[in-house]
């Protein structure tokens, strides 16, 4: 049984800001922003909700090009954008609150950008 229909639209990075502004005008709230590394590319999902209708915008980036911040449209987006920068190394420009890489303190820089152990066996017993 499907709990809720979920719509994902892949868009060009250049169209992102305009589309996000459109969602804000329609009254959608920002649910979350997340990043997934797929091969050498990064999928970045921007999720919105209006009266339990879940919609998702996706851009696919190579990690070298900067992406625009949407914190000028949805003020609270800065937590997701800082997190994405700290864990994946995605450079986001124009954030209203920029922690400069110190929101999430990690032992390794951008640890999620290069997962090294996918598919390995569980930790060896000592």
């Amino acid at each position: 049984m499907t709990i809720e229909a979920q719509e994902t639209t892949v868009v060009e990075q250049d169209h992102l800001i305009g589309l996000v502004e459109g969602y804000k005008k329609q009254g959608y709230r920002l649910v979350q922003i997340n990043c997934t590394k797929v091969g050498d590319l990064y999928e970045i999902n921007y999720s919105f909700d209006l009266r339990y209708q879940f919609k998702n915008l996706r851009i696919v980036v190579d990690g070298k090009r900067e992406i625009p911040s949407i914190s000028g449209i949805y003020w609270g987006a800065f937590v997701y954008e800082n997190e994405m920068h700290d864990l994946f190394g995605i450079r986001v420009v124009g954030m209203n609150v920029d922690f400069g890489g110190h929101l999430i303190r990690t032992a390794k820089k951008n640890p999620f950008a290069n997962p090294t152990f996918r598919g390995e066996d569980a930790c060896p017993k000592k």
């Binding site: 049984m1 499907t2 709990i3 809720e4 979920q6 804000k24 709230r29 920002l30 649910v31 979350q32 997340n34 990043c35 997934t36 590394k37 797929v38 999902n45 999720s47 339990y52 879940f54 998702n56 949805y74 003020w75 609270g76 800065f78 937590v79 997701y80 997190e83 700290d86 609150v97 922690f99 110190h102 929101l103 999430i104 303190r105 990690t106 640890p111 999620f112 997962p115 152990f117 996918r118 598919g119 390995e120 569980a122 930790c123």
Partner: protein, 359 residues
């Protein structure tokens, strides 16, 4: 014009169960701006998805939080089940609903105790936590765990609740409800609570909605979003109305949680009356191939578990977006303009769970 100074608040502070740091920009005793900083307890749980097979990852998901662990496990399982098109038996969905509501009771009572402690009301703190023991005892009896329940799995649940135990649980709720009524009366009507919370930490409806507030933080500002309304687990077959207050202050956020205690009791009674006989799990076949944003209502608000699989036994990605993370920007709005002495009460009013937020 008075000089601005920056005062550090946290990461260690008597009111904070977990570490968060705030740089408070002060003009005299008034907060002009608050800049949050987290990251002290980032565990990298999401990366473990690469090391654990998808059925095993339930244990990791549950350990995201020590308060609402069951709902984390359930939301993760729900996401994988949606990707794999698994038809979970109805009895399992009702059991998930019952345990979710006991988790909510446990979490809200824990928070009410901490909140009473923050405003200096020690007796109320003890009364709230005494009531919470009843809930923990039920969780221990029915799942084997007081903190981590470990009873959810992909395809259903690991344990059933026998009918006679369920009947007794419902009967015991009568006395528990009376005890809660006494506690609720104090939280809602006592002058010392009202004096410390009413008009403090204001969050407007628009700020709550567009800054990303969720759960009681949003519902205390008149935003009636409650993910249980989407009908996941067995909620679609139960009747309830989300508790909403319009004051937008700490009192309203407290009142929402108090009222939700009684909503949870009602939902448990309804679920126990309607739960069907039958299987409690289906065996998943194959591996997940696809993606889903699984959403559920945690005690603190909307929880999102994003799962993406590529047909192998290891998921490509698990992303956990917890309500505390999304309640941080609204907290910044609440703190701007408040008195320094009110900061601990305001911070606590979003029920911050930093372990959850940082994963």
């Amino acid at each position: 014009m008075s000089k601005k100074i920056i005062m550090p608040f946290g990461p260690q502070h008597p009111v904070l169960p977990e570490p968060i740091h705030l740089d408070l920009v002060l003009e005299d005793e008034r907060v002009v701006e608050a800049i949050p900083s987290i990251g002290y307890i980032h565990r990298g749980l999401e990366t473990l998805v690469a090391k654990r097979e998808y059925p095993e990852y339930v244990y990791i998901a549950e350990r995201t939080c020590g308060i609402c662990s069951f709902i984390h496990g359930m939301t993760y399982c729900q996401g994988v089940e949606q990707v794999m098109n698994l038809e979970v038996p109805e009895r399992a969905l009702y059991l998930r609903t019952i345990w979710s509501e006991y988790s909510r009771l446990h979490s809200h009572l824990l928070w009410l105790g901490l909140f009473a402690d923050a405003v200096g009301f020690e007796n109320l703190f003890m009364a709230s936590w005494k009531a919470r023991e009843f809930v923990l005892d039920v969780l221990e009896e029915t799942t084997g765990g007081r903190v981590i329940q470990g009873s959810c799995k992909v395809g259903g649940v690991r344990r059933d609740i026998p009918c006679d135990t369920l009947d007794r649980m419902v009967r015991d709720l009568d006395g528990f409800e009376r005890e809660l009524q006494d506690i609720a009366n104090v939280f809602l009507n006592d002058e010392s609570i009202i004096g410390r919370t009413r008009g403090v930490g204001m969050l407007s409806r628009d700020d709550a909605y567009y800054c990303g507030a969720m759960g009681p933080t949003a519902r205390g500002s008149g935003v009636g979003i409650d993910l249980r309304m989407t009908g996941y687990a067995a909620y679609g077959k139960l009747k309830f109305t989300p508790a909403v207050e319009t004051g937008g202050d700490c009192y309203s956020r407290c009142a929402v949680r108090v009222k939700e205690l009684f909503t949870s009791i009602d939902l448990i009674r309804q679920a126990a009356a309607k739960i069907p006989e039958g299987e409690i799990e289906v065996k998943p076949k194959g591996n997940p191939d696809g993606e889903y944003f699984s959403r559920a209502e945690q005690p603190r608000g909307e929880l999102v578990h994003y799962v993406k699989g590529d047909g192998t036994k290891h998921l490509v990605r698990s992303r956990i977006r917890t309500p505390t993370l999304t309640n941080l920007p609204p907290l910044v709005k609440m703190l701007a303009g408040c008195e320094l002495a009110d900061v601990p009460v305001i911070v606590l009013s979003i029920d911050p769970c930093i372990g959850c937020a940082e994963r």
